[in-house]
Amino acid sequence: MVMKNVKIAQKKSANFYYLNHTLENLYSPLGVEILESPIAFKKYPWSRKYFDKKPQEGYFIWVKQQPVKPLITCVAISQAKTNQQLQNLLIIEKGIAAESLVSCSALTIGLCAKHQAQGKIILKEGASLSYKHLHSWGKEDYVKPDYEFILEKGARLDYFYQLLNPPKELTFKTKISLLEKASANLNVIMRSKNASINIEEEMDLLGKGAQGTVNLRLVAEKNTKIKAVNKLIAKAEGKGHLECQGMILDNQSSIELIPDLINKNKNSLLTHEASIGKINEEEINYLRARGLSQKEAINLIVNGFLHLNL
Protein backbone atom coordinates (compact mmCIF):
# COMPACT_ATOMS: atom_id res chain seq x y z
CA MET A 1 0.00 0.00 0.00
CA VAL A 2 2.80 2.34 0.95
CA MET A 3 4.74 1.50 -2.18
CA LYS A 4 1.67 2.21 -4.28
CA ASN A 5 1.38 5.67 -2.77
CA VAL A 6 5.03 6.37 -3.42
CA LYS A 7 4.56 5.45 -7.09
CA ILE A 8 1.58 7.75 -7.42
CA ALA A 9 3.52 10.58 -5.80
CA GLN A 10 6.43 10.03 -8.16
CA LYS A 11 4.18 10.38 -11.15
CA LYS A 12 3.08 13.74 -9.91
CA SER A 13 6.22 15.45 -8.58
CA ALA A 14 9.67 15.82 -10.02
CA ASN A 15 12.16 14.72 -7.43
CA PHE A 16 15.82 14.26 -6.71
CA TYR A 17 16.97 12.45 -3.59
CA TYR A 18 20.67 12.32 -2.88
CA LEU A 19 22.16 10.62 0.19
CA ASN A 20 25.82 11.09 1.21
CA HIS A 21 27.46 10.69 -2.24
CA THR A 22 24.83 8.52 -3.92
CA LEU A 23 21.76 9.21 -5.98
CA GLU A 24 18.89 7.38 -4.25
CA ASN A 25 15.92 8.47 -6.30
CA LEU A 26 15.22 10.56 -9.34
CA TYR A 27 12.03 11.20 -11.23
CA SER A 28 11.60 13.58 -14.16
CA PRO A 29 8.04 14.15 -15.30
CA LEU A 30 7.27 15.38 -18.80
CA GLY A 31 8.83 18.80 -19.43
CA VAL A 32 11.28 18.64 -16.54
CA GLU A 33 14.73 17.18 -17.03
CA ILE A 34 16.68 16.15 -13.95
CA LEU A 35 20.22 14.82 -14.11
CA GLU A 36 23.21 14.54 -11.85
CA SER A 37 25.43 17.56 -12.48
CA PRO A 38 28.46 15.63 -13.85
CA ILE A 39 26.21 13.99 -16.47
CA ALA A 40 24.61 17.31 -17.44
CA PHE A 41 28.08 18.87 -17.70
CA LYS A 42 28.96 16.27 -20.34
CA LYS A 43 25.59 16.20 -22.11
CA TYR A 44 25.03 19.94 -22.42
CA PRO A 45 28.15 21.98 -23.23
CA TRP A 46 26.12 25.18 -22.80
CA SER A 47 25.59 24.34 -19.15
CA ARG A 48 29.35 24.61 -18.46
CA LYS A 49 29.25 28.40 -18.28
CA TYR A 50 27.02 28.09 -15.20
CA PHE A 51 29.31 25.76 -13.28
CA ASP A 52 32.31 27.39 -11.65
CA LYS A 53 34.24 24.15 -11.96
CA LYS A 54 33.68 20.65 -13.27
CA PRO A 55 31.08 19.18 -10.93
CA GLN A 56 31.67 15.99 -8.98
CA GLU A 57 28.20 15.75 -7.54
CA GLY A 58 24.96 17.71 -7.40
CA TYR A 59 21.81 18.15 -9.42
CA PHE A 60 20.83 19.72 -12.71
CA ILE A 61 17.16 20.58 -13.11
CA TRP A 62 15.88 22.07 -16.34
CA VAL A 63 12.21 23.08 -16.32
CA LYS A 64 11.13 23.33 -19.94
CA GLN A 65 7.36 23.09 -19.56
CA GLN A 66 4.96 24.27 -16.90
CA PRO A 67 5.10 21.64 -14.11
CA VAL A 68 1.90 20.58 -12.37
CA LYS A 69 3.50 19.83 -9.00
CA PRO A 70 6.39 21.32 -7.02
CA LEU A 71 9.94 20.16 -7.71
CA ILE A 72 11.27 18.29 -4.72
CA THR A 73 14.98 18.22 -4.00
CA CYS A 74 16.30 16.41 -0.99
CA VAL A 75 19.98 16.18 -0.06
CA ALA A 76 20.84 14.32 3.11
CA ILE A 77 23.79 12.98 5.06
CA SER A 78 23.64 9.82 7.16
CA GLN A 79 27.32 8.79 7.41
CA ALA A 80 29.83 10.34 9.79
CA LYS A 81 32.46 12.67 8.32
CA THR A 82 30.79 12.81 4.91
CA ASN A 83 32.03 15.76 2.89
CA GLN A 84 29.50 16.77 0.27
CA GLN A 85 30.57 19.24 -2.39
CA LEU A 86 27.59 19.83 -4.55
CA GLN A 87 27.37 21.87 -7.72
CA ASN A 88 23.72 22.52 -8.52
CA LEU A 89 21.95 24.18 -11.41
CA LEU A 90 18.26 24.98 -11.75
CA ILE A 91 16.94 26.59 -14.90
CA ILE A 92 13.36 27.76 -15.31
CA GLU A 93 12.46 28.52 -18.90
CA LYS A 94 10.57 31.61 -20.12
CA GLY A 95 7.19 32.33 -18.61
CA ILE A 96 7.05 29.21 -16.44
CA ALA A 97 5.83 29.45 -12.84
CA ALA A 98 7.54 26.83 -10.71
CA GLU A 99 7.64 25.89 -7.07
CA SER A 100 10.65 24.25 -5.52
CA LEU A 101 10.86 22.50 -2.15
CA VAL A 102 14.44 21.97 -1.10
CA SER A 103 15.63 20.21 2.00
CA CYS A 104 19.22 19.70 3.10
CA SER A 105 19.75 17.79 6.31
CA ALA A 106 21.73 15.48 8.51
CA LEU A 107 19.65 12.44 9.35
CA THR A 108 21.23 12.03 12.77
CA ILE A 109 23.12 14.34 15.08
CA GLY A 110 26.85 14.14 15.79
CA LEU A 111 28.00 13.15 12.28
CA CYS A 112 30.72 15.84 12.04
CA ALA A 113 29.76 16.15 8.39
CA LYS A 114 30.41 18.86 5.85
CA HIS A 115 27.87 20.07 3.33
CA GLN A 116 28.98 22.55 0.74
CA ALA A 117 26.60 23.48 -2.01
CA GLN A 118 27.32 25.87 -4.79
CA GLY A 119 24.36 26.57 -6.96
CA LYS A 120 23.01 28.73 -9.71
CA ILE A 121 19.36 29.31 -10.28
CA ILE A 122 18.40 30.93 -13.56
CA LEU A 123 14.96 32.38 -14.08
CA LYS A 124 14.46 33.19 -17.73
CA GLU A 125 12.30 36.06 -18.97
CA GLY A 126 8.92 36.22 -17.23
CA ALA A 127 9.54 33.05 -15.20
CA SER A 128 8.64 32.84 -11.53
CA LEU A 129 9.86 30.63 -8.74
CA SER A 130 8.74 30.05 -5.20
CA TYR A 131 11.80 28.50 -3.56
CA LYS A 132 11.38 27.01 -0.10
CA HIS A 133 14.64 25.93 1.44
CA LEU A 134 14.85 24.06 4.74
CA HIS A 135 18.02 23.20 6.64
CA SER A 136 18.27 20.82 9.55
CA TRP A 137 21.70 19.80 10.88
CA GLY A 138 23.49 18.18 13.76
CA LYS A 139 25.44 20.30 16.21
CA GLU A 140 28.84 19.10 14.93
CA ASP A 141 28.24 19.78 11.23
CA TYR A 142 29.76 22.44 8.95
CA VAL A 143 27.47 23.84 6.32
CA LYS A 144 28.14 26.24 3.49
CA PRO A 145 25.44 26.96 0.94
CA ASP A 146 26.42 29.46 -1.75
CA TYR A 147 23.61 30.25 -4.17
CA GLU A 148 23.34 32.73 -6.97
CA PHE A 149 19.99 33.62 -8.47
CA ILE A 150 19.88 35.32 -11.86
CA LEU A 151 16.52 36.85 -12.72
CA GLU A 152 16.03 37.87 -16.30
CA LYS A 153 13.53 40.47 -17.52
CA GLY A 154 10.24 40.37 -15.62
CA ALA A 155 11.18 37.27 -13.61
CA ARG A 156 9.99 36.86 -10.04
CA LEU A 157 11.54 35.03 -7.09
CA ASP A 158 10.08 34.31 -3.67
CA TYR A 159 12.77 32.71 -1.57
CA PHE A 160 12.04 31.39 1.92
CA TYR A 161 14.91 29.95 3.89
CA GLN A 162 14.41 28.42 7.27
CA LEU A 163 16.99 26.95 9.59
CA LEU A 164 15.27 24.32 11.69
CA ASN A 165 18.28 22.88 13.51
CA PRO A 166 21.58 24.73 13.28
CA PRO A 167 24.97 23.15 12.53
CA LYS A 168 28.12 24.13 14.42
CA GLU A 169 29.06 26.53 11.66
CA LEU A 170 26.93 27.91 8.90
CA THR A 171 28.10 30.21 6.14
CA PHE A 172 25.06 31.27 4.21
CA LYS A 173 25.89 33.05 0.96
CA THR A 174 23.27 34.35 -1.41
CA LYS A 175 23.52 36.60 -4.40
CA ILE A 176 20.51 37.74 -6.35
CA SER A 177 20.91 39.63 -9.64
CA LEU A 178 17.84 41.34 -11.00
CA LEU A 179 17.51 42.47 -14.58
CA GLU A 180 14.83 44.74 -16.03
CA LYS A 181 11.50 44.65 -14.14
CA ALA A 182 12.54 41.55 -12.22
CA SER A 183 11.53 41.28 -8.60
CA ALA A 184 12.76 39.23 -5.67
CA ASN A 185 11.65 38.70 -2.13
CA LEU A 186 14.13 36.99 0.18
CA ASN A 187 13.02 35.79 3.61
CA VAL A 188 15.55 34.23 5.96
CA ILE A 189 14.46 32.75 9.28
CA MET A 190 17.05 31.41 11.69
CA ARG A 191 16.69 30.28 15.29
CA SER A 192 19.91 28.88 16.63
CA LYS A 193 21.66 27.47 19.66
CA ASN A 194 25.39 26.84 20.15
CA ALA A 195 26.23 27.92 16.61
CA SER A 196 28.35 30.31 14.63
CA ILE A 197 26.51 31.77 11.68
CA ASN A 198 27.78 34.00 8.90
CA ILE A 199 25.35 35.45 6.45
CA GLU A 200 26.66 37.11 3.31
CA GLU A 201 23.84 38.32 1.18
CA GLU A 202 23.89 40.55 -1.87
CA MET A 203 21.09 41.84 -4.04
CA ASP A 204 21.95 43.69 -7.24
CA LEU A 205 19.39 45.81 -9.05
CA LEU A 206 20.84 45.73 -12.55
CA GLY A 207 17.89 46.58 -14.81
CA LYS A 208 15.37 49.40 -14.88
CA GLY A 209 12.32 48.72 -12.71
CA ALA A 210 13.99 45.96 -10.68
CA GLN A 211 12.64 45.54 -7.16
CA GLY A 212 14.02 43.59 -4.28
CA THR A 213 13.23 43.09 -0.60
CA VAL A 214 15.24 41.22 1.98
CA ASN A 215 13.74 40.23 5.31
CA LEU A 216 15.94 38.65 7.97
CA ARG A 217 14.63 37.34 11.30
CA LEU A 218 17.34 36.01 13.53
CA VAL A 219 17.15 34.55 17.02
CA ALA A 220 20.31 33.78 18.97
CA GLU A 221 19.19 31.51 21.77
CA LYS A 222 22.20 30.10 23.54
CA ASN A 223 25.90 30.65 22.99
CA THR A 224 25.37 31.72 19.38
CA LYS A 225 27.18 34.22 17.24
CA ILE A 226 25.45 35.57 14.18
CA LYS A 227 27.01 37.99 11.74
CA ALA A 228 25.00 39.20 8.79
CA VAL A 229 26.40 41.37 6.02
CA ASN A 230 23.69 42.47 3.63
CA LYS A 231 24.50 44.35 0.47
CA LEU A 232 21.89 46.12 -1.56
CA ILE A 233 23.27 47.62 -4.75
CA ALA A 234 21.34 49.75 -7.24
CA LYS A 235 23.04 50.14 -10.60
CA ALA A 236 19.82 50.90 -12.48
CA GLU A 237 16.60 52.66 -11.57
CA GLY A 238 14.93 50.40 -9.04
CA LYS A 239 13.77 49.93 -5.49
CA GLY A 240 15.28 47.91 -2.72
CA HIS A 241 14.42 47.38 0.91
CA LEU A 242 16.35 45.58 3.60
CA GLU A 243 14.83 44.61 6.91
CA CYS A 244 16.81 42.83 9.61
CA GLN A 245 15.42 42.00 13.02
CA GLY A 246 17.33 40.14 15.65
CA MET A 247 16.44 38.80 19.07
CA ILE A 248 18.98 37.72 21.67
CA LEU A 249 17.92 35.38 24.44
CA ASP A 250 21.11 35.09 26.51
CA ASN A 251 24.26 36.99 27.40
CA GLN A 252 26.61 34.50 25.75
CA SER A 253 25.18 35.28 22.31
CA SER A 254 25.67 38.10 19.87
CA ILE A 255 24.12 39.33 16.66
CA GLU A 256 25.95 41.69 14.36
CA LEU A 257 24.07 43.27 11.48
CA ILE A 258 25.96 45.11 8.79
CA PRO A 259 23.72 46.64 6.18
CA ASP A 260 25.51 47.98 3.14
CA LEU A 261 23.42 50.12 0.80
CA ILE A 262 25.14 51.24 -2.38
CA ASN A 263 23.16 53.43 -4.71
CA LYS A 264 24.69 54.22 -8.09
CA ASN A 265 21.57 55.53 -9.75
CA LYS A 266 19.96 58.85 -8.88
CA ASN A 267 16.44 57.53 -9.52
CA SER A 268 16.76 54.53 -7.24
CA LEU A 269 15.52 54.19 -3.71
CA LEU A 270 17.19 51.92 -1.20
CA THR A 271 15.82 51.70 2.33
CA HIS A 272 16.84 49.85 5.42
CA GLU A 273 15.39 49.02 8.80
CA ALA A 274 17.11 47.09 11.56
CA SER A 275 16.75 46.28 15.21
CA ILE A 276 18.33 43.84 17.62
CA GLY A 277 16.82 43.45 21.02
CA LYS A 278 15.82 41.23 23.83
CA ILE A 279 12.50 39.54 24.34
CA ASN A 280 9.84 41.72 25.94
CA GLU A 281 9.38 40.73 29.61
CA GLU A 282 5.89 42.19 29.70
CA GLU A 283 4.80 39.77 26.97
CA ILE A 284 6.31 36.81 28.83
CA ASN A 285 4.53 37.77 32.04
CA TYR A 286 1.24 38.27 30.24
CA LEU A 287 1.42 34.72 28.87
CA ARG A 288 2.51 33.34 32.24
CA ALA A 289 -0.58 34.92 33.78
CA ARG A 290 -2.47 32.79 31.27
CA GLY A 291 -0.90 29.65 32.69
CA LEU A 292 2.00 29.18 30.24
CA SER A 293 5.36 28.29 31.73
CA GLN A 294 8.27 30.67 31.09
CA LYS A 295 9.64 28.27 28.46
CA GLU A 296 6.28 27.93 26.69
CA ALA A 297 5.81 31.71 26.74
CA ILE A 298 9.27 32.37 25.24
CA ASN A 299 8.68 29.72 22.59
CA LEU A 300 5.38 31.25 21.55
CA ILE A 301 6.83 34.77 21.39
CA VAL A 302 9.95 33.69 19.48
CA ASN A 303 7.89 31.72 16.96
CA GLY A 304 5.71 34.79 16.57
CA PHE A 305 8.79 36.94 16.00
CA LEU A 306 9.92 34.50 13.32
CA HIS A 307 6.42 34.55 11.80
CA LEU A 308 6.12 30.80 12.27
CA ASN A 309 2.70 31.03 13.92
CA LEU A 310 1.04 32.91 11.12
Binding site: L287, R290, G291, L292
Partner: protein
Protein backbone atom coordinates in the same frame (compact mmCIF):
# COMPACT_ATOMS: atom_id res chain seq x y z
CA UNK B 1 -21.13 29.24 55.53
CA UNK B 2 -19.17 29.86 52.36
CA UNK B 3 -15.50 29.07 52.44
CA UNK B 4 -12.84 31.75 52.32
CA UNK B 5 -11.29 31.85 48.85
CA UNK B 6 -8.84 34.73 49.12
CA UNK B 7 -7.30 36.26 52.21
CA UNK B 8 -4.85 39.13 51.96
CA UNK B 9 -3.17 40.01 55.23
CA UNK B 10 -1.08 43.10 55.91
CA UNK B 11 0.16 43.22 52.34
CA UNK B 12 2.78 45.92 51.88
CA UNK B 13 4.30 46.42 48.44
CA UNK B 14 7.24 48.49 47.36
CA UNK B 15 8.31 49.65 43.91
CA UNK B 16 11.90 50.86 44.07
CA UNK B 17 11.79 53.00 47.21
CA UNK B 18 8.13 53.91 47.17
CA UNK B 19 5.47 52.06 49.15
CA UNK B 20 2.60 51.42 46.69
CA UNK B 21 0.35 49.27 48.88
CA UNK B 22 0.32 49.69 52.63
CA UNK B 23 -0.97 46.98 54.99
CA UNK B 24 -3.80 45.91 52.76
CA UNK B 25 -6.27 43.43 54.24
CA UNK B 26 -9.02 41.82 52.19
CA UNK B 27 -11.12 38.67 52.50
CA UNK B 28 -13.21 37.21 49.74
CA UNK B 29 -15.39 34.12 49.96
CA UNK B 30 -16.40 31.68 47.22
CA UNK B 31 -19.00 33.12 44.89
CA UNK B 32 -18.66 36.65 46.27
CA UNK B 33 -18.37 39.73 44.11
CA UNK B 34 -16.24 42.52 45.55
CA UNK B 35 -15.61 45.93 44.04
CA UNK B 36 -12.47 47.99 44.43
CA UNK B 37 -12.77 51.71 43.89
CA UNK B 38 -10.22 54.46 44.10
CA UNK B 39 -8.78 57.41 42.23
CA UNK B 40 -6.13 57.02 39.51
CA UNK B 41 -2.78 56.00 40.95
CA UNK B 42 -4.22 54.72 44.23
CA UNK B 43 -2.76 51.22 43.70
CA UNK B 44 -5.72 49.23 42.33
CA UNK B 45 -3.89 47.83 39.30
CA UNK B 46 -0.81 47.17 41.45
CA UNK B 47 -2.96 45.06 43.78
CA UNK B 48 -4.38 43.14 40.82
CA UNK B 49 -0.91 42.50 39.40
CA UNK B 50 0.56 41.54 42.76
CA UNK B 51 -2.29 39.05 43.26
CA UNK B 52 -1.35 37.54 39.90
CA UNK B 53 2.35 37.43 40.86
CA UNK B 54 3.55 39.87 38.21
CA UNK B 55 6.79 41.88 38.49
CA UNK B 56 8.37 44.31 39.23
CA UNK B 57 6.83 44.77 42.68
CA UNK B 58 8.62 43.82 45.90
CA UNK B 59 6.63 42.34 48.76
CA UNK B 60 7.81 44.01 51.97
CA UNK B 61 5.50 42.05 54.25
CA UNK B 62 2.17 40.31 54.31
CA UNK B 63 0.65 37.18 52.82
CA UNK B 64 -1.77 36.17 50.12
CA UNK B 65 -3.73 33.00 50.86
CA UNK B 66 -5.75 31.54 47.99
CA UNK B 67 -7.80 28.36 48.40
CA UNK B 68 -6.03 27.77 51.69
CA UNK B 69 -2.54 27.94 50.17
CA UNK B 70 0.01 30.64 50.75
CA UNK B 71 0.62 31.84 47.17
CA UNK B 72 2.67 34.92 48.11
CA UNK B 73 5.75 33.53 46.36
CA UNK B 74 4.03 31.54 43.60
CA UNK B 75 4.84 32.21 39.93
CA UNK B 76 2.05 33.69 37.78
CA UNK B 77 1.53 30.37 35.94
CA UNK B 78 1.16 28.49 39.23
CA UNK B 79 -1.45 31.00 40.39
CA UNK B 80 -3.25 30.69 37.08
CA UNK B 81 -3.33 26.90 37.38
CA UNK B 82 -4.68 27.21 40.89
CA UNK B 83 -7.64 29.19 39.59
CA UNK B 84 -6.72 32.85 39.63
CA UNK B 85 -7.40 34.89 36.50
CA UNK B 86 -6.77 38.52 35.60
CA UNK B 87 -8.31 40.66 32.89
CA UNK B 88 -5.49 43.11 32.12
CA UNK B 89 -6.25 46.79 31.93
CA UNK B 90 -3.57 47.33 29.27
CA UNK B 91 -2.61 43.97 27.79
CA UNK B 92 0.58 43.98 25.66
CA UNK B 93 0.53 43.27 21.93
CA UNK B 94 2.40 40.15 20.82
CA UNK B 95 3.54 40.28 17.22
CA UNK B 96 3.17 37.16 15.13
CA UNK B 97 1.05 35.32 17.72
CA UNK B 98 -2.64 35.13 16.93
CA UNK B 99 -5.29 34.98 19.63
CA UNK B 100 -6.07 31.51 18.26
CA UNK B 101 -2.46 30.39 18.89
CA UNK B 102 -2.80 31.42 22.52
CA UNK B 103 -6.26 29.93 22.96
CA UNK B 104 -4.95 26.63 21.58
CA UNK B 105 -2.17 26.65 24.19
CA UNK B 106 -4.61 27.48 26.98
CA UNK B 107 -7.19 24.97 25.78
CA UNK B 108 -4.63 22.18 25.50
CA UNK B 109 -4.29 22.44 29.27
CA UNK B 110 -8.02 22.42 30.06
CA UNK B 111 -10.70 20.75 28.01
CA UNK B 112 -14.10 22.35 28.25
CA UNK B 113 -16.96 23.66 26.17
CA UNK B 114 -16.71 27.40 25.68
CA UNK B 115 -19.83 29.51 25.82
CA UNK B 116 -19.36 33.19 25.00
CA UNK B 117 -21.59 36.16 24.38
CA UNK B 118 -20.27 37.23 21.01
CA UNK B 119 -19.13 34.53 18.62
CA UNK B 120 -18.97 37.01 15.75
CA UNK B 121 -16.58 39.41 17.47
CA UNK B 122 -14.39 36.55 18.65
CA UNK B 123 -14.24 34.96 15.21
CA UNK B 124 -12.91 38.27 13.88
CA UNK B 125 -10.27 38.50 16.60
CA UNK B 126 -9.05 34.89 16.63
CA UNK B 127 -6.98 35.17 13.47
CA UNK B 128 -5.46 38.51 14.41
CA UNK B 129 -2.20 39.02 16.28
CA UNK B 130 -2.93 39.42 20.01
CA UNK B 131 -3.83 43.02 20.89
CA UNK B 132 -2.05 44.35 17.81
CA UNK B 133 -4.19 47.22 16.56
CA UNK B 134 -7.10 46.04 18.72
CA UNK B 135 -9.51 48.80 19.73
CA UNK B 136 -10.12 49.33 23.45
CA UNK B 137 -13.32 47.30 23.25
CA UNK B 138 -11.72 44.48 21.24
CA UNK B 139 -9.01 44.15 23.87
CA UNK B 140 -11.63 43.67 26.58
CA UNK B 141 -13.54 41.08 24.52
CA UNK B 142 -10.29 39.19 23.88
CA UNK B 143 -9.32 39.37 27.57
CA UNK B 144 -12.64 38.06 28.81
CA UNK B 145 -12.63 35.28 26.20
CA UNK B 146 -9.20 34.13 27.38
CA UNK B 147 -10.47 34.07 30.97
CA UNK B 148 -13.55 32.06 29.96
CA UNK B 149 -11.18 29.52 28.38
CA UNK B 150 -9.06 29.44 31.53
CA UNK B 151 -12.12 28.81 33.71
CA UNK B 152 -10.72 30.42 36.91
CA UNK B 153 -12.34 30.44 40.34
CA UNK B 154 -11.46 34.03 41.14
CA UNK B 155 -11.60 36.57 38.34
CA UNK B 156 -9.99 39.97 38.73
CA UNK B 157 -11.51 42.43 36.28
CA UNK B 158 -9.18 45.42 35.99
CA UNK B 159 -11.33 48.10 34.38
CA UNK B 160 -13.04 45.74 31.98
CA UNK B 161 -15.64 48.47 31.46
CA UNK B 162 -13.25 51.09 30.08
CA UNK B 163 -13.17 51.55 26.31
CA UNK B 164 -16.41 49.65 25.70
CA UNK B 165 -19.45 51.15 24.04
CA UNK B 166 -22.63 51.02 26.12
CA UNK B 167 -24.21 48.20 24.13
CA UNK B 168 -21.14 45.97 24.27
CA UNK B 169 -20.73 46.79 27.98
CA UNK B 170 -24.27 45.69 28.70
CA UNK B 171 -23.81 42.47 26.70
CA UNK B 172 -20.62 41.77 28.60
CA UNK B 173 -22.10 42.46 32.03
CA UNK B 174 -25.16 40.37 31.15
CA UNK B 175 -22.88 37.51 30.14
CA UNK B 176 -20.84 37.79 33.34
CA UNK B 177 -23.92 37.94 35.55
CA UNK B 178 -25.97 35.20 33.93
CA UNK B 179 -23.38 32.83 32.49
CA UNK B 180 -19.77 33.38 33.51
CA UNK B 181 -20.66 33.84 37.18
CA UNK B 182 -21.74 30.22 37.28
CA UNK B 183 -18.78 27.92 37.15
CA UNK B 184 -19.54 24.67 35.45
CA UNK B 185 -18.22 21.62 37.12
CA UNK B 186 -15.75 19.46 35.23
CA UNK B 187 -18.06 16.55 36.01
CA UNK B 188 -20.94 16.64 33.58
CA UNK B 189 -24.60 15.65 33.69
CA UNK B 190 -26.96 14.52 36.41
CA UNK B 191 -24.19 13.17 38.58
CA UNK B 192 -22.76 16.68 38.98
CA UNK B 193 -26.19 18.20 39.64
CA UNK B 194 -26.93 15.56 42.22
CA UNK B 195 -23.74 16.45 43.97
CA UNK B 196 -24.74 20.10 43.86
CA UNK B 197 -21.55 21.12 42.13
CA UNK B 198 -22.92 21.88 38.66
CA UNK B 199 -23.46 25.58 39.26
CA UNK B 200 -20.81 26.57 41.69
CA UNK B 201 -20.34 30.29 41.69
CA UNK B 202 -17.20 32.08 40.63
CA UNK B 203 -15.81 34.94 42.71
CA UNK B 204 -14.99 38.35 41.23
CA UNK B 205 -12.88 41.31 42.22
CA UNK B 206 -13.97 44.25 40.10
CA UNK B 207 -11.79 47.31 39.67
CA UNK B 208 -13.81 50.11 38.14
CA UNK B 209 -14.54 53.80 37.77
CA UNK B 210 -18.06 53.31 36.43
CA UNK B 211 -21.45 52.82 37.98
CA UNK B 212 -23.00 50.52 35.37
CA UNK B 213 -21.00 47.43 36.23
CA UNK B 214 -21.70 47.92 39.96
CA UNK B 215 -25.41 48.37 39.34
CA UNK B 216 -25.74 45.14 37.38
CA UNK B 217 -23.35 42.94 39.32
CA UNK B 218 -24.33 44.32 42.73
CA UNK B 219 -21.15 43.57 44.68
CA UNK B 220 -21.58 42.21 48.18
CA UNK B 221 -18.61 44.26 49.39
CA UNK B 222 -17.04 47.46 48.09
CA UNK B 223 -13.61 48.72 49.14
CA UNK B 224 -12.00 52.11 48.66
CA UNK B 225 -8.28 52.20 48.01
CA UNK B 226 -6.56 55.53 48.53
CA UNK B 227 -2.79 56.06 48.49
CA UNK B 228 -2.22 52.32 48.79
CA UNK B 229 -4.51 51.81 51.77
CA UNK B 230 -7.99 50.36 51.99
CA UNK B 231 -9.66 53.21 53.86
CA UNK B 232 -13.24 52.01 53.79
CA UNK B 233 -15.24 48.85 53.11
CA UNK B 234 -19.00 48.66 52.78
CA UNK B 235 -21.71 46.12 52.01
CA UNK B 236 -23.71 48.83 50.26
CA UNK B 237 -21.89 49.94 47.13
CA UNK B 238 -24.51 52.62 46.42
CA UNK B 239 -23.77 54.51 49.63
CA UNK B 240 -20.08 54.63 48.77
CA UNK B 241 -20.78 55.52 45.15
CA UNK B 242 -23.09 58.41 46.09
CA UNK B 243 -20.59 59.75 48.63
CA UNK B 244 -17.63 59.78 46.26
CA UNK B 245 -19.77 61.15 43.45
CA UNK B 246 -20.92 64.04 45.59
CA UNK B 247 -17.87 64.79 47.73
CA UNK B 248 -14.99 62.94 46.10
CA UNK B 249 -12.64 60.38 47.67
CA UNK B 250 -11.40 63.02 50.15
CA UNK B 251 -14.63 62.67 52.11
CA UNK B 252 -13.87 58.99 52.66
CA UNK B 253 -10.32 59.83 53.67
CA UNK B 254 -11.51 62.20 56.36
CA UNK B 255 -14.35 59.94 57.50
CA UNK B 256 -13.72 58.46 60.91
CA UNK B 257 -16.05 55.44 60.57
CA UNK B 258 -13.80 53.52 58.13
CA UNK B 259 -16.89 51.51 57.28
CA UNK B 260 -20.12 52.74 55.69
Amino acid sequence: MAQELLKITNLTIRLEKKIILDKVNLKLKKGEIHALLGPNGSGKTTLAQVLMGLPPYKIVRGTIIFKGRNITKFTPEKRSKLGLGLVFQNPPAIKGVTLKNLIQQISSKKKQKIEFFTDKAIDNLLMREINLGFSGGEKKVSELYQLVCLNPELVILDEIDSGLDIERLQQMIHFIKNKFYFKQSEKKGSQAIARGSYNRQRAFLIITHREDILKYLNPSMTHILLDGKIICSSKDWLVIWKTIKKYGYEKCENCSKKIC
